[in-house]
């Protein structure tokens, strides 16, 4: 009964490993590409407040290529298992990958060189891919009546995804026909919805599922999870309206509410960690902790920005702390834990002994990644604050080195996994 048949009854909820691993492989490639493009135009990050070029291209390689790609791969695999409801046809998941990859490449080419046709087609493909993702997630969430600690933040994330896609379309159209009266405000609202809304709320939702599972702890309490989602949603609404109306006071209220939501989120995670069975936290957690600290700094930077701090310093610093600091640290932390975990799980699907997690990780490469990634985050923040072009370039190269070490870890993991598959 066991051999070969073990996973059969779970087919409705467990995707073929090729689907999540395709997304993760793309994320790893775009991770290297993002840092490489930033290395190419590192000096232009200083004082960056908008406009096409290397910085905007690098930013979208990271946000779409790494963050969204990781979120999609992880959500397709984990959400149906967590909610115990079906996600949707696997071919739709695959289709979103096929649309998203060329979409990102074209969009980034358009953003880097200001090429309208590439921007239009790339934007269309990315919007199509992310819309499919949003529809699949929403379809799954509609079937769930329990698990509010997961579903409430996930619903906020889906709503923010819809909003950011509408604004993205407006921003692309504006480059063609010039329809926006206040383009910087719309771009800032787009960034806010993408960073704190879509990705940030997915982080909150994933934290309620993945972290208790990885540290073997009790799940997030329903009431506490709802509280975080509601306060964060109010913060997002205030931030969005304040940005679009140009009202600093409302924007400031959004930042403060965001900090309050973060405080409750930290309290929730602290309770999770306090109840954990796995006493020693694994190395991936250092990136999560760093990311949480950088999240606080990003909200403080946002508060400083609306309080009158110079935009040419604080705006790029805010974006840096938000995307490369918090979200990229969190995403690479989760990736380095979830990839070996899924590989081990799928390696046991045929009934043989699964390959051990410890055999699938490369601690030295992950150490190199962590050191270089965090060095890059700190050095670039210093460069942006003190206007130091050389330090900005060194920071970008550190990030590139870290991304290559991370890619090395993924290659070693896939080599071990495939060798195990061939031997069974």
């Amino acid at each position: 009964m066991f051999a070969g048949a073990f996973m059969m009854g779970a087919k409705d909820r467990l995707l073929s490993p090729i689907i999540p691993f395709r997304f993760f492989a793309s994320a790893i490639v775009f991770h290297v590409a993002g840092w490489a493009v930033l290395s190419w135009g590192a000096e232009t990050a200083l004082g960056f407040v908008g406009g096409t070029g290397a910085v905007l291209a690098a930013l979208h390689l990271i946000t779409l290529g790494v963050l969204a790609m990781t979120a999609m791969g992880a959500a397709y695999q984990m959400l149906p298992v967590a909610t115990r409801r079906q996600l949707g046809p696997a071919w739709v998941c695959s289709l979103s990958w096929w649309l998203f990859n060329p979409g990102i490449v074209l969009l980034v080419m358009g953003l880097a060189g200001g090429w309208g046709a590439a921007l239009d087609l790339g934007g269309f493909l990315c919007v199509a891919a992310l819309s499919l993702f949003g529809l699949l997630v929403a379809r799954n969430l509609l079937q769930v009546t329990d698990l509010p600690a997961v579903t409430w933040p996930a619903w906020v994330a889906v709503a923010c995804l819809a909003g950011l896609l509408v604004l993205a379309v407006l921003l692309v159209l504006d480059m063609d026909v010039g329809l926006l009266v206040n383009r910087p405000a719309v771009a800032a609202a787009h960034a806010l919805l993408a960073g704190y809304g879509f990705m940030g709320m997915l982080v909150v939702g994933f934290s309620a599922v993945l972290l208790p599972m990885f540290v073997l702890a009790k799940p997030v309490d329903d009431a506490a999870g709802k509280r975080v989602a509601v306060i964060a949603a109010l913060a997002l609404l205030a931030g969005l309206l304040g940005t679009l109306w140009g009202e600093n006071l409302v924007q400031g209220a959004g930042s403060i509410l965001g900090l309050v939501a973060l405080g409750f989120y930290f309290a929730v995670q602290r309770r999770v960690l306090a109840s954990r069975m796995r006493k020693k936290l694994e190395p991936f957690f250092r990136l999560l902790k760093a990311g949480w600290g950088l999240q606080v700094l990003s909200l403080l930077a946002a508060l400083a920005l609306v309080s009158g701090a110079p935009a040419e310093i604080m705006a790029p610093l805010w974006g840096w702390l938000l995307v490369f600091g918090w979200l990229l640290s969190f995403a690479t932390g989760i990736l380095q834990r979830i990839m070996p975990f899924l590989a081990s799980m799928h390696s046991g699907a045929k009934g043989g002994k699964p390959v051990l997690l410890s055999q699938l990780t490369s601690p030295r490469l992950l150490d190199i990644h962590a050191v270089l990634h965090l060095a890059a985050v700190v050095l670039m923040a210093v460069a942006l604050f003190f206007d130091l072009p050389l330090v900005a370039r060194v920071a970008a190269f550190c990030g590139l080195g870290g991304a290559m070490a991370f890619a090395g870890f993924a290659l070693v993991m896939m080599h071990v996994y495939r060798a195990h598959e061939r031997s069974t």
Binding site: F2, L216, P219, F341, M345, G348, P354, L357
Partner: protein, 193 residues
């Protein structure tokens, strides 16, 4: 509460009835407070039983094994399965199926995740059905880690716990056999296999 170690030394018990999996979803009607205040909850229980259609379920929490109630309801077509969850706490699952298998009992240990543990002829059993993730995985790993001389464990799950596999492998355990029935996926876990 009966301890897991203490339970392992007791005589083996019968397997729970197959219909139990479907009854686990039902919220229990707790009559312990009413009985503590000297009230007779029989009317309330009969009213609740009247509302159960054929094939339906009723779950009752009581401070003792309510044998008279179980016999009364058996006469009305209810099978029942009782679990002693601890001192002064019994949970009785009733199923209106013509009293086909009218009365079973089991003494179980209740883990902090809500999983029930008992001993049968083939070893220790744990029922993690209807628990939200990651409670099933926590309960199974807690049992394995806290019982060093345990060499096998039978898990009653409602699905195949894919995410458990890597954790079991890290601890030198594996799934030796699986039997899938409706709402009862049984996994025989073995140490060092």
């Amino acid at each position: 509460m009966v301890g897991v170690v203490e339970l392992a030394s007791r005589p083996p018990q019968d397997s729970p009835p197959a219909w139990l999996a479907m009854a686990l979803d039902q919220p229990p009607l707790d009559v312990r407070a009413a009985l503590a205040q000297g009230e007779d909850p029989l009317g309330l229980l009969m009213e609740a039983a009247d509302g159960v259609g054929f094939g339906g379920f009723l779950v009752v929490d009581a401070p003792f094994n309510p044998s008279p109630l179980r016999r009364i309801l058996a006469a009305r077509g209810f099978s029942s399965y009782g679990r002693c969850l601890g001192s002064g706490h019994w949970r009785i699952y009733f199923h209106l199926n013509g009293a086909a298998d009218w009365e079973h009992d089991s003494e179980v240990a209740l883990l902090e995740e809500g999983a029930m543990v008992w001993r049968e002829a083939d070893g220790l059993h744990v029922d993690v059905r209807k628990l939200s993730p990651p409670h099933p995985m926590l309960a199974i790993l807690r049992l394995i880690e806290s019982t060093p001389d345990l060499s096998g464990l039978v898990v009653h799950h409602e699905r195949l716990p894919q995410y458990l596999l890597p954790e079991l492998a890290e601890r030198g355990w594996c799934v030796a056999r699986v039997v899938e029935e409706f709402q009862d996926v049984r996994l025989w876990l073995e140490r060092g296999a």
